[in-house]
Amino acid sequence: MAPEPAVARAEPGLVVAGGRPARPGTWTTLLRFARKKPLGAAGGVVMLVMVFAALFANALQTHDPIATDSTSVLARPSEEHLLGADHLGRDIYSRIVHGARVSLIVGVASTLLGSVLGGLIGLLSGYVGGRTDLVTQRVMDILQGLPLLVLALVMSAALGPALHNVVIAISIPIVPRAARVIRASVLSIREMQYVEAARALGIQHLRIAFRHVLPNTMGPFIVLGTAQLGSAILVEAALSFLGLGVPEPYPSWGRMLSVSAAEYAQKAPWLVLFPGIAISLAVFGSNLLGDALRDTLDPRLRGA
């Protein structure tokens, strides 16, 4: 673990409200980020590897991830099966590579859906204010009052097992969190002089909200998204583990750990070990990246 150089200061020029100064090139920005936040960069690399695995799962696989093979039931990790095989003789390495696809799709889709929906609610609530704001905040309180997993659990049970239903179930608990963050940032932006100027010019409210206020909430929005991605992946794993998540035949990391697999855990610990490591690494990566992005884009929230 390389120690991070003394705390990074707020990075002017990365996200600037209002005018656009000359921006450094993308590569320069990335390099500077990597130097200042080695942990965050490491997280970014982990996420890149995951995206790579998801994109090229078909090329990276050594076996068909859903083909059963009676000759290699519970096979030990070997040259043939890099990470061993499960109780149906399916290759674990190939399943993990394909599982990255499911985890990433579900994670990204539900995070996007939840934060966009929540973001719009937050924008409306914060910009309009007054009674609308009050009512919206109460509803968000109610949604946030239930533990994330319990809410997703009830949702996915209510909607039935299907990929898009899992995405919806996981996105709902994200909505109130997104709404709150975006609302807070809208509340401060609303009072800025350039918004007042826009209003004085007679620009319509809708246009001000979307063209002038919304773009400036992008910082918190990105931070929120990266932070929620990790928990979305975790919730997907938990749902699939309980049999309420992504249905067969998609190989999902959570279902690889499910009760039916756990029964063989003593004879074949690789069954449990590797998918769990995959989940942990993916979430670890997105948490590290999220932390570093938060420090860089939103110094006020540092360490929170």
């Binding site: 009830v154 938990a238 855990a265 942990s280 590290l288």
Partner: protein, 305 residues
């Protein structure tokens, strides 16, 4: 109160989104469907009524303390849930103790030794806790016990009256898995709260007066950093229940959370509704407790009459 009422509406609405009801499931598994029988059973269970009537029925029942009857077991819900409550409460309590014992000291140390190697190790340790699914951690704990000690922890519930030591071990393992995760958040908040307080002038004064490090850190600084920490502990306590859902399943403990999963899979409406409502009430109560604690911990917070 209003929050609870809203929650009851949300819970009810969510459950009624579900395609199919318990009668369909029972009939599917029985393999025959007679429309007349089905209608009779539906009437018996009260799910033939319009939705609003079902909602009003349920609300009236909850308010009068009648938790209804489980469709699946044909028993009053309360009788089924009652023996499970101590299991979950004990597990939640143990997890919380572990989370606080692990989270608060590491957070304080990490803040005092900011940007040293120790700080980095502790922070990575805490982010790792946030990253591992607690059910997987539980499995790994069991596996490593089996692998290194050749000892299999009991997988059937041991009552504390039968064998207290075994019972405690049985509960400590899942509590460790859940508590580690919660400790991560507590550690992060403790660290940032301490960092803020440690920069204050009065802390520098305390150092300047030559007080011992321990006195400055714990008596002067920590006392003022404790408020956000208590807040996050309150939030964590509510969210712990989410973690218990899977952990109780892994460790095969007969608690409320595991029962909730079963009930959801069976679409046992009364049980699910009441359990989720129960969780909602606990969340609201723990938030309230935290608010009350503010007044005790910080004399500057006063509640108007």
């Amino acid at each position: 109160m209003l929050t609870l009422f809203g929650m009851s509406l949300v819970i009810f609405a969510l459950l009624r989104l579900a395609p199919g009801n318990i009668v369909d499931i029972l009939f599917d598994s029985a393999g025959y469907v007679s429309e007349a029988d089905k209608a009779l059973i539906e009437k018996d269970l009260g799910i033939d009524k319009p939705l609003w009537a079902q909602y009003v029925d349920w609300l009236r029942a909850v308010v009068t303390g009648d938790l209804g009857k489980s469709y699946r077991y044909d028993q009053p819900a309360w009788q089924l849930i009652k023996p499970m409550i101590p299991v979950t409460v004990e597990l939640a309590f143990l997890s919380m103790v572990i989370a606080v014992l692990l989270g608060v000291p590491t957070g304080v140390i990490s803040a005092v030794r900011q940007d040293t190697g120790l700080d980095y190790v502790l922070r990575v340790f805490s982010i790792a806790g946030l990253s591992m699914p607690s059910f997987w951690l539980g499995m790994v704990i069991i596996l490593s016990l089996v692998g290194w000690l050749g000892w299999i922890p009991p997988m059937i519930y041991v009552s504390p009256l039968q064998n207290f030591k075994l019972h405690l071990v049985q509960f400590l393992l899942p509590a460790l898995a859940v508590g580690y995760r919660s400790s991560a958040l507590i550690m992060r908040i403790t660290r940032s709260a301490m960092l803020e307080v440690l920069r204050e002038d009065y802390v520098r004064t305390a150092w300047a007066k030559g007080q011992s490090g321990r006195a400055v850190v714990w008596r002067h600084a920590f006392k003022n950093a404790v408020l956000p920490v208590v807040t996050v502990i309150g939030i964590e306590f509510a969210f712990l229940i989410g973690g218990l859902v899977v952990t109780e399943t892994v460790f095969n403990l007969p608690g409320v959370a595991r029962f909730l999963v079963e009930a959801i899979l069976w679409r046992d409406y009364p049980i699910v509704q009441n359990l989720v409502m129960f969780i909602a009430i606990i969340v609201v109560l723990s938030n309230l407790t935290v608010d009350m604690l503010y007044g005790v911990l910080d004399p500057r917070v006063r509640y108007g009459a």
